[in-house]
């Protein structure tokens, strides 16, 4: 912890370096749990995952067990999953629908609104004991934006929409894929660990510089499948133009002209001839609803969006929600879901899921190699005392636009992280 500075940011000197101790030190992790995760809006789940009163999912968010559910009035709620009596986990199932949740230790039960409504042998508690004082606790703040539900452990945190800043526009681009403005999480979660510091996945998830070197076998797969890929233009590494953007409060994204196919709505041979009319129909609906320009913006660009600190909405070969939490300085848990328009036809849904697996996930043609490279980085970081600095300067000397293979968005992540680690709040 005496290894500060964590980040050297000297734009005039074209210097941007990250201290590798930030990726290995348990004390740094303890500090970031308090100063980063406990003051930022953290993703819990999507409203479509719980639909009817009593529906619930249990999750661990920032080391806290939570119940993500619908209450008796069908509002999405988040409760801390701990009994007010002695602390046991109240709901131990991963998902379901329940009228009430009963703690199995002494039998206290809570209704759909989190109120304590059953206490065996209540008469032995003193007269001052009131059940209404012992409802399930909620995080200090819970809010949602367009179906995405977040919590905040800081009661004084700024409102979610203000926090999301420039990221809102990019969430809206995803929602516009649905004719009714409703995207839904598709069942099946990819739930896996990476033996690496969580911040490495934050970098990796929107670092397009690594695409050629790490994902050559995926690019070969696209080529072998008949996907057209142009030679990169001068100054570019990739087949299509793309930029890196900083969106405020540590959020950022890549914003790329698509070359890899999109379920909404650009057909590639991998989808199969049979799916072509359906993709064209989706495209036509998009144009009719949004106009040519906006439809093209939605369908012909792909964007990897970081909502600081640990949520990615990657709208590429398919749409994935990816969130991750540190389990230790050198280990993280990743959760990933597929997101699709609610009214999607069975054909389009199947294309979406198939397209997802061409790239993403622990059995995809790309993500396993990302996992491998992050674990390789973590192994290399054991030398951090001898080799203390990582270099994050790509694009720094450019005036104006920086490419997706440059690193303004990665620097934006680190600048915000460093600011919070110095004790400042998002502002």
């Amino acid at each position: 912890m005496n290894d500060r500075p964590f980040v050297i940011n000297e734009p005039e000197a074209m210097r941007f370096q990250v201290n590798r101790v930030t990726l290995v030190d348990p004390q740094v992790l303890e500090l970031e749990r308090r100063r980063v995760f406990d003051v930022c809006w953290i993703y819990v789940g999507h409203e479509s995952e719980v639909r009817a009163p009593g529906d619930f999912k249990t999750r661990i968010v920032c080391d806290r067990p939570v119940i993500f559910c619908r209450d008796s009035r069908n509002r999405a709620r988040v409760f801390l999953n701990t009994c007010r009596h002695r602390g046991s986990i109240v709901c131990r199932e991963s998902e379901g629908n329940a009228k009430s949740h009963t703690c199995f230790y002494h039998g206290w039960s809570y209704n759909r609104d989190g109120e304590l409504d059953g206490v065996p042998g209540q008469d032995a508690f003193p007269p001052s004991f009131k059940k209404s004082d012992f409802g399930l606790k909620e995080p200090p703040q819970v809010a949602s934006y367009r179906g995405f539900v977040f919590l905040n452990f800081d009661p004084n945190a700024m409102p979610l929409e203000q926090y999301l800043a420039g990221a809102k526009e990019y969430i809206d681009l995803i929602i516009d894929q649905s004719p009714s403005g409703q995207m839904e999480v598709i069942q099946g979660v990819q739930d896996y660990d990476i033996r690496a510091n969580w911040k490495l996945l934050a970098e990796n998830s929107f670092d397009d510089y690594h695409l050629l070197s790490v994902h050559g076998s995926w690019l070969n797969y696209l080529k072998n499948s008949g996907v057209e890929m142009k030679r990169p233009e001068k100054g570019h590494l990739l087949p299509a133009h793309g930029v890196g953007k900083v969106l405020g409060n540590g959020h950022g994204c890549t914003d790329n002209v698509n070359f890899r196919g999109r379920p909404v709505a650009r057909w590639i041979p991998i989808y199969g001839e049979a799916a072509k009319p359906e993709i064209e129909r989706i495209r036509a609906e998009l144009v009719a609803r949004l106009g040519e320009e906006r439809a093209s913006r939605v369908a012909d660009t792909n964007r990897n969006l970081l909502i600081f600190p640990n949520l990615f909405l990657n709208d590429g070969s398919s749409v994935t929600i990816r969130t991750f939490y540190p389990l230790g300085p050198d280990r993280m848990r990743v959760l990933a879901w597929a997101l699709g328009p609610k009214e999607e036809s069975p054909t389009a849904r199947a294309v979406r899921l198939d397209s997802f697996l061409t790239f993403y996930g622990p059995g995809g043609f790309a993500t396993p190699d990302d996992i491998e490279v992050l674990e390789s980085v973590q192994a290399g970081l054991s030398t951090h005392r001898e080799v203390p600095w990582s270099e994050v300067t790509r694009g720094m000397a450019k005036e104006g636009e920086q490419l997706n293979t440059d690193e303004p968005h990665l620097r934006g992540f680190w600048i915000q992280w460093d600011k919070l680690m110095r004790g400042e709040r998002p502002s």
């Binding site: 896996y192 072998n224 396993p368």
Partner: protein
């Protein structure tokens, strides 16, 4: 094995003549090919419309058309997967893991015409340099088909028992 006829529901039902021992021999042979990374030879065990699935841990019995899986390959992508795994730039498997497969509790659960459904338990250990052992435990659901004098794999699903992939990390090899 002897088969009377190559047509679907011909009298004698070829799949009815397949014994569990033949199925076990076949699955052991498949496991040996995969452990030896003889992936091209493994491909010859598959039918031309073969499917290879690994469902997500929380939806082991779902359909990949409406559920996110870990792997849901048709034959084109199975072949592409093998092509990829032979490429040095498939970094997750370069250098290749060592694997050792234990197949047991082999049961023929139903037979129909040329097809038979088979279930078996697996325990697959994966070893990489300077890494802990990763253990994949679960069961296979196979659809085997009699083609001429041979058994072929029309569908293989590897269902992992763990509640989450967790410390297994990825399924970058053929499970």
């Amino acid at each position: 094995m002897k088969t009377k006829s190559s047509s679907g529901d011909a009298p004698g039902k070829p799949s009815a003549q397949v014994t569990r021992q033949q199925v076990e021999d076949f699955l052991y042979e498949e496991a040996a090919l995969l452990d030896a990374w003889r992936l091209d030879d493994w491909l010859t065990l598959l039918t031309d419309d073969a499917i290879y699935n690994v469902p997500s841990n929380d939806r082991p019995d779902a359909d990949s058309k409406d559920t996110l899986f870990i792997i849901a390959d048709d034959i084109r992508r199975i072949r592409a997967r093998v092509t990829r795994l032979k490429d040095k730039s498939a970094h997750a498997e370069y250098p290749p893991s060592r694997t050792r497969r234990m197949i047991s509790n082999v049961r023929i659960v139903s037979r129909s015409g040329l097809s038979l459904r088979v279930e078996a338990n697996f325990s697959v250990h994966r070893f990489r340099r300077n890494e802990g052992i990763r253990a994949y435990v679960g069961h296979y659901r196979y659809e085997l088909r009699v083609e001429g004098s041979k058994l072929k794999i029309a569908k293989r699903e590897a269902i992992i028992d763990a509640m989450e992939l967790g410390s297994m990390g990825s399924v970058s090899f053929i499970l």
